[in-house]
Each structure stands twice: as C-alpha cells, then as structure tokens.
C-alpha cells in the first residue's frame, strides 16, 4: 500500500482520536474522576471511553507500519505524537485521595522508619554525640560556645529563657514565629535529605552541625542556670523536632548509601528505588516539623501554662512519638511476605 493510500484510509481514525483527546469535556471529566479517585481514569465520555483503547492500539500498530514501510518522518511524528498522548491518558497514575495522606502518616511513614532503623540509629548518633561532646566541651571552656552559636544569639539566650523571658510576647509574634519555624525547619529537613545525595556527606554535615549547635546552646543555658524554664519550653516541640531532624538525616543517608553501595543494581537504579523508599520518611518528618512549629509557637511559649504542666505534656508527647514510630502500622509489617519467610526459616 502506498503512503498516500495509507493516509487516506486511516486519516479519519486519526482525526477521531485527536478529537477524543482534545475534546474539552474530556478535561472536565478527568477532573471529576480524579476527585472521585477512580483508577486509571480515562478522562472521557462513556462512548469515547470504549473507543479510546481500541483507537490507541490501532494507532500503535499503524505507527509500527509507518516505520517499517518508511512512509516518512512527518507522518511518523504525527502518529508518534498521537500515540504518546493516548498512552498518557490510558496509563496515568491513580488520582490522589485524602485517604493516601492518612495512610502515609499512620502506616507507610512509621513502617519505613522501622525498616531503616539502623540508619535512623546512625543519624541519631551523628546528632546526639556531637551535641553531648559540645555540651561537655563548652562546660569546660565556655568560650567554645561562640564557635557555633553566633555571639548575638548567645547574648539573647539570657533574655529569652530567663525567668522573666517570653512573658511580654504579643500574640502576633506567635504567628510570625510559626511561619518562621515552618519556613526554616521544614526547609532544613528538606535540605538535609537532598544534600544526602552526595554520598551522605550533606546529611552528615547538617546532623553534626545541628548537634554542635544544640550542645553549645544547652551549655550556655546550664551556665546561666535557666534549665527549668528552657527545658519546659523545648520538651514539647522537641519531641517532634529533634526526631524529625534525625529522620530526615536518615533519609538523606539512605540516598547517599544507595550510590556508595548499590548492591547488584546499577547506581542509577539504586538511586531511583531508594529515593522512592526514603520519600515517606521525609514526608513524615515534614509533618512532624509542622506539628513542632505549631507547638513551639502556640504552646511551648505560652506564659499561662505552668512549667510543670509543660514538662508533663512534653514527656507524654515524647511517648506518643516513640509509640507512633514503633507501633503504628505494625500489623502490616507482619503481613509482609519477606518477614513471613524469615520466620518460617
């Protein structure tokens, strides 16, 4: 068959496919279906819906013929474009549902944390050991504080956490602080994760640096003797914030280690797979940090709540965090086939 006959015979079909793909109603219906969470939603009217897969398969077949018979690049690129577009509609991924967020927080996130517990431990140590080391060092020689804490900040510590501190803070500052904590802390968690790509170095840097900072900060608080007011302030949001720092560090290390030790995969494949695996941990850490920001801005700094209540609630929140990470979604853990195999063996 000559090219011109071929084109004449099938061009109706192609225009029909084009019409289906570009019909304005298809875009609207797609949205409705996306919000209803229908799988592989074809964004189509019912009669189009039946026709599209058929037309798509035919255009794939015709594209193969066009290539095999060398009908020419323009026809080939037209059919390639059509097939691509139809392919895109037929193979789009399932639309998001609020249920997915709940599942991320209650199942996927804690489960991934448990699966990465070795890395989480490493990340925690990379954070805690420098903090303790710095605390001890600064206690011995208090000049060291200003090596990591800017002098201006160090000078304000007394004002902020002293017995008279934070009393006079107006309500508008609470909101400003919330915005700042989200912008700053969630941003740091994301950067910690991303920079882990460079063989884990970036994640290690953020963990150790934050550890040093907090150690020095704590040493300064100890020197001034403001422990009670300081720890009653940080304990509540610290439950979420400190955990989230360690978790985003662990996720960053996961990225870096996938390049260092890809196993029997190519490094590119390992990176893709491990990145996908690490993402729920980063997402969970981000949610933790938003919770921490809410607590830090509106609860921890409250002048009305007595310190003893803050300490009690803070301790309870630590327990909640640890229970969430160690127990939530555990039923699913045990149903995992690889676990079952291990037990059988």
């Amino acid at each position: 068959m000559s090219r011109e006959v071929f084109e004449a015979r099938y061009s109706d079909e192609w225009s029909r496919l084009e019409r289906i793909l570009h019909a304005p109603s298809t875009r609207r219906r797609e949205k409705e279906r996306a919000s209803a969470g229908i799988r592989h939603s074809a964004r189509l009217e019912p009669h189009d819906e039946a026709e599209l897969p058929e037309l798509y398969r035919r255009v794939c077949h015709q594209l193969a013929l066009v290539r095999n018979r060398h009908y020419g690049t323009d026809l080939e690129s037209r059919l390639n474009g059509l097939a691509l577009e139809a392919h895109e509609v037929l193979y789009q991924s399932r639309a998001l549902h609020p249920r997915d967020l709940a599942r991320l927080l209650l199942v996927t996130f804690p489960r991934r944390v448990r699966q990465e517990r070795a890395l989480v431990l490493v990340a925690t140590l990379l954070f805690v050991l420098p903090a303790v080391g710095m605390l001890l060092a600064c206690t011995v020689s208090h000049d060291l504080v200003t090596t990591v804490v800017p002098p201006r900040v160090a000078a304000q510590i007394g004002e902020m956490y002293g017995p008279s501190g934070r009393q006079a803070r107006p309500g508008s500052t609470d909101l400003a602080m919330f915005g700042f904590y989200v912008y700053n802390n969630v941003g740091i968690a994301f950067r910690t994760f991303a920079s882990g790509l460079f063989f884990g170095v970036g994640a290690i840097f953020f963990l150790v640096y934050n550890g040093f900072f907090m150690g020095a900060f704590a040493a300064e608080i100890g020197r001034l003797g403001y422990e009670t007011s300081f720890y009653s302030f940080v304990i509540s949001h610290g439950a979420f914030e400190l955990t989230a720092i360690a978790l985003s560090g662990a996720a960053g290390l996961r990225l870096g280690f996938s390049i260092l030790g890809p196993g029997n995969r190519t490094r590119a494949t390992a990176l893709r797979q491990e990145g996908r695996q690490a993402l729920p941990i980063v997402g969970g850490a981000a949610v933790y940090l938003v919770i921490a920001a809410l607590l830090e801005a509106f609860w921890s700094s409250s002048a009305v709540v007595p310190q003893s209540v803050k300490l009690a609630v803070g301790a309870a929140l630590w327990i909640v965090v640890l229970l969430h990470l160690s127990l939530s979604g555990r039923r699913g853990d045990q149903a995992r086939p690889d676990r079952a195999r291990v037990r059988a063996a």
Binding site: H61, H70, S77, M177, R272
Partner: protein, 252 residues
C-alpha cells in the same frame, strides 16, 4: 516493496537528535523529545519571576496586617519555594507556568504523566542541584546525562520533554510536489529515502540556489548537477512516497 531490508538502526533514524525511546506495553516504541538546558533555564527563570511577583504581592497585602502578616508571609515563601513546582506538576500534568510558556513538560521516564512521588522527589532534590552554588551540580548533571536529567530527575526517574510534537510538514502545506514518479536506479537505505523525501517536502522553503546546492550533494545518485539534479531527486521522492506512473494516483 521495501520489505526485507534490515530494520532501522538507531543511528539511521535520528542521528543527532535528543530523543528518548520508550517501549509501550503495546510493543511499539514511542519517542520523547527531551529538552536541553537552555529552554529549561528559561522556564526556570519564568517560574522564578512569577514567584517573585507573587511574593511581592503577598508582601504588600500582608503588610496591611502589620506584625500579624509576618507569619503568613513566611508561609507563602515556604510554599513558593517547595510546593509551587510540585502542585503545578501534579495537577497540571507536568507543566509549571514557566514550562508551559516554553512548551516543556515533566514526564516519568516511560512517558506517562509525572506522579506525586516523582514530582516531590525531583523538587526536593532541587537543593542538591543547586549546590555548591547557582545550580552548578544540576547543570553538570544535565550536560553529562543522555536525557538531560538533573540530579532530581535522576532520583525521580523523570525527564523534561518538549510537549508539542513538531507540526507535521503536510499541515504546513509542505508535501512532495506532484511530479511524475521515477524509480531510483539503485535500492536505497531507509535513511537515504528519508533524506530524499525530506528534500522534496522542504523544497519550497529554500531559494533555488540552495536547492541546487543540496541536490548537487546527491549527484552520485542522480548523475546530474544543477536544476536537472533537483528535478531527478523530486521524481525519486515522488516514487518513494508511493506514487506510480499516473501522478497523484497510488497503487494498492
């Protein structure tokens, strides 16, 4: 009539083009035209400008609230920095406003629309691309990978492609002129056929001197130079698109 020839090899099809091939479950290979660094830079600049504009509007509006506006402004900055690209890519099928202006879009490596996981990964990793300064790592990665992927694209398994396929020549009024078909003296390879048909289709867009100059390159085939070479090439092209003795009427 051309059956029995060896199948096309990649170098025969599109020798220098930046193209990524994707095999579908239907067993046909689709080609994605991946976008190079320059259009992507422009798209990023447009997106940056849009964000900057939105920030300044937010700053002006929120300044009416005095101190109370500071917190929301920081939230706007946060969303602009981290959520802007993800929201557009997920809800507008891989297209941010900047990409839309440049005709680009993000797709998964297999050509399907980018999903939330992939979009979040590639945009979180933007910070790694930024390091150590001014997107140096990202540019390096784009230049070193076959499909122009920055680090975020590598982790997410995504590519940035030109969204619109080139307009077919026929729709621009470019087709092989209706001249009597002449069979080529020797059997031609697929890429040779393409070149000749392409020449005939685009003839109208060149000055005659340029057409003769190009036809001279094929004098080995046509055995003629100048205008005669052009005419013979057109005859071959006409034959190659399937026309036979009576021009305009194909054989079955």
């Amino acid at each position: 009539m051309f059956r029995g020839k060896a199948p096309l090899t990649e170098s025969e099809v599109l020798p220098f083009d930046a193209v990524r091939r994707v095999e579908t479950p239907e067993g046909v290979t689709l080609t994605l035209r991946v976008a190079g660094p320059l259009p992507r830079l422009y798209a990023a600049l447009v997106d940056g400008a849009i964000r900057g504009f939105a920030y300044s509007i937010a700053a002006v509006v929120l300044s009416l609230l005095h101190d109370l506006g500071q917190g929301p402004l920081l939230l706007v900055l946060f969303l602009g920095e981290w959520a802007y690209p993800v929201l557009f890519e997920v809800f507008r099928r891989g297209v941010t406003p900047g990409k839309s202006l440049l005709g680009l879009k993000v797709v998964n490596g297999d050509g399907t629309p980018v999903n939330l996981t992939a979009s979040m990964l590639r945009n979180l990793l933007r910070f790694a691309d930024f390091l150590p300064f001014g997107y140096a790592a990202g540019v390096l990665s784009i230049l070193l990978t076959d499909d122009f992927q920055r680090l975020g694209d590598l982790v997410a398994g995504t590519v940035v492609v030109h969204a619109d396929s080139p307009r077919p020549r026929a729709s621009r009024g470019l087709r092989v002129p209706d001249v009597p078909p002449v069979a080529p003296p020797v059997p031609l390879h697929a890429h040779e056929q393409r070149v000749i048909v392409g020449f005939a289709e685009r003839l109208a867009t060149w000055p005659p001197e340029r057409a003769r100059e190009l036809a001279d390159l094929a004098s080995g085939l046509t055995g003629a130079a100048g205008q005669e070479g052009v005419t013979r090439l057109l005859g071959h092209a006409s034959w190659l698109v399937g026309r036979r003795r009576k021009a305009g009427e194909g054989e079955r």
